[in-house]
Symmetry: C2
Subunit: 296 residues, 2 copies
C-alpha cells in the first residue's frame, strides 16, 4: 500500500483562506492592514528570490509589504539602526531580517534587535525561550509551526506519538522538538532529536510514529530506516545535479521518497510539502502580530 | 554487579574548590566579592529553608549574600520595583527570586524583570532562548547544568549516547534536553523526552544509555525499565511517609534505587546526588555573572 501524500499546498491554501478572512475583517472593523517589512542585506540570489516570494504572497493576501534593500557592505550599525526605526514604526507589524547576513554582520546582534512583538520569524531569543517554556501567545518559528499545522490539519495524531526528528538546527530541529513536547493539543508527543553524532540512527528512526527528516542531506532517510505505517515529514530541499532537468539540477528532499512511500502511511513530498507551509506561517505571524497589537 | 554510585556531594566539593580559588583571585586582583541577592516573598517553610541553605553556602565560599524578605501579601508592583532596584545595583551580581511565588503574583512577569545578566537561576526567557540556540556564554539553569557537570566529571561519556529524560518541566526536563543535544563536548547526545503522555514508557527508557528520572513520582522508574549497564540520574525528591524515620517521613527519588542499582552501571543516590549540584551551580552562576561584568 502506497502512502497518502500530505500536501503542503493544500493545507497552506486552507490556512490562506482563513487568514484572508481575518485580514478582511481587520480592514473593515479596525481599518488596519497588517504590514510586513523585510530587511535584505546584500544580493544573494536565493535570498532575493525568497524575499520576492514573500512580497508576492503578501500582495495576494492583501497584506502590506515593504522590502528594505541594503548594500552587502553596509556596516552592522546601519542595519541595527534600520531595525530600530522599524521597531518604532507603528505602521509596521512584522519585521523580518532575511538570512544569511554578510559575514561582517553578527546575526545574533541583529536578530536580538528586532522587537519580539514584531519578530515574525520567531528567532528572537526571548521568543525562543517563551516557546520552550510553553507560553501559548508567542510567535512561533515558521517551519516547525508549519509542520505542526500540516500534521494536525491532515488528521495525523501527534498526542501520545513518538516523534523522531533528524537534525538539530535552530530553524527546524530544535524548535520543532520544543513545540511538539509541550503539554497541549496538537503536541504532547514523546520527542527524540537525532543528528550527526547519533549512533545506529536507523534503530531509532524505525521506532518513530512520526519521522521528521531535517538533516539537509539528500535522500539520507532510506526505506529501511522507516517503520511500517509511520508518517514521514521531509523538510529537506537539496539541490542535486540532473542533466535531464531543464536547468541541469533539481531539488530533492532528505527522504528517498519513491522507496519510503511504500513503507510509510503518509508522507510529505518535495517540492509541495513543508516548503509552502513556511511562507504560509510567516503570513500567519504577520497577521498574529497585528492582532496582538490590537491588545486583545 | 552493583552500580557505581555517582556522588553529587563529591562532585560539588570539587567544583566548590575551583570556585573558591576563583573567588579568592577576584578579591585579590579586582577587589570584587561576587554578591547574590535572593528575593523571598511569603513564608513558605520549604522556601525559607532553601534560601537559608543558599545563604549559608555563600558565606562558606566567601560570596556576599543578601535576602530581601517580603510579606506574602506584597503587591506584584512592589516585587517588580524591588527587582528593578537590584538590576540597577552595581554591588549585586546575581538576583534570584525564590519560587513558588504567592498566587497573586505573575511568575512570568517577575522572572522577566530580572536583568538577564544577573539571572543566576537561568529562567529568564532570553537566557532560555540563548541556551536553546547554543550560545556558549549564557547562564544555564542550575539543576540541568548540575546534572551535566556531574556526568562529565564522573567520566560518563555523554557524546554519542542516547539520553532519555522522563519529565518535561521548565526547571529540569526541557532545559536538560536542550543542553545535552547541543553540538559540543559534554553534550552531543541523542535526546528523548518522555512524560505522562508517553506510550510504553519502559520500551523507551530501556533504550537509554543515560536515563534521567525527573518525573516527580516516587520510585516510578523500576528495574525492568532500565537497560543493563545504563547510567541512571535520579532528579526526584519525593516526601514519603515512613513511621520508622525520626520525623515520620523521608525523601525518596523517582528511581527504585535498591533494585535499579543491580541493573545500572552507575547511579546517583537520593539524597546526595543531584540535590547538592543545584545549589553548587547557583554559586557557579553567581561567580560567572560577576566574571561577565568584568567584561572578559
Amino acid at each position: 500500500m502506497t502512502a497518502r501524500i500530505i500536501s503542503g499546498k493544500e493545507v497552506s491554501a486552507q490556512i490562506y483562506a482563513e487568514l484572508g478572512a481575518r485580514i478582511a475583517s481587520f480592514r473593515e472593523r479596525y481599518g488596519i492592514v497588517p504590514h510586513l517589512t523585510v530587511v535584505l542585506v546584500g544580493d544573494d540570489p536565493s535570498s532575493q528570490s525568497y524575499v520576492r516570494m514573500k512580497s508576492e504572497k503578501c500582495r495576494e493576501l492583501g497584506l502590506g509589504s515593504t522590502v528594505i534593500r541594503m548594500d552587502a557592505l553596509t556596516p552592522e550599525g546601519e542595519v541595527l539602526a534600520a531595525i530600530d526605526a522599524l521597531d518604532r514604526d507603528e505602521g509596521v507589524h512584522g519585521v523580518l531580517v532575511q538570512l544569511p547576513l554578510p559575514g561582517h554582520i553578527r546575526e545574533t546582534r541583529v536578530l536580538q534587535a528586532v522587537d519580539p512583538r514584531k519578530d515574525v520569524d520567531g528567532f528572537h531569543p526571548v521568543n525562543v525561550g517563551r516557546m520552550v517554556m510553553g507560553d501559548p501567545d508567542v510567535l512561533l518559528p515558521c517551519t516547525p509551526h508549519g509542520i505542526q499545522q500540516m500534521l494536525v490539519r491532515s488528521g495525523v495524531r501527534i498526542e501520545g506519538s513518538h516523534v523522531v526528528i533528524v537534525g538539530r538546527s535552530n530553524i527546524v530541529g530544535k524548535p520543532l522538538a520544543n513545540i511538539l513536547v509541550q503539554k497541549r493539543p496538537g503536541a504532547n508527543a514523546t520527542v527524540t532529536v537525532c543528528h550527526t553524532r547519533t549512533q545506529d540512527l536507523g534503530a531509532i528512526t524505525r521506532t518513530a510514529d512520526i519521522l521528521v527528516a531535517a538533516a539537509g542531506s539528500p535522500r539520507a532517510i532510506t526505506a529501511d530506516m522507516v517503520g511500517a505505517g509511520a508518517v514521514v515529514v521531509d523538510v529537506g530541499s537539496n539541490r542535486v545535479e540532473d542533466p535531464t532537468a531543464p536547468k541541469g539540477y533539481r531539488f530533492v528532499g532528505d527522504v528517498d521518497f519513491d522507496a519510503v512511500k511504500e513503507v510509510a502511511s503518509a508522507i510529505t513530498p518535495v517540492p509541495g510539502g513543508v516548503g509552502p507551509m513556511t511562507v504560509c506561517m510567516l503570513m500567519w505571524n504577520t497577521v498574529e502580530a497585528a492582532w496582538n497589537r490590537l491588545g486583545r
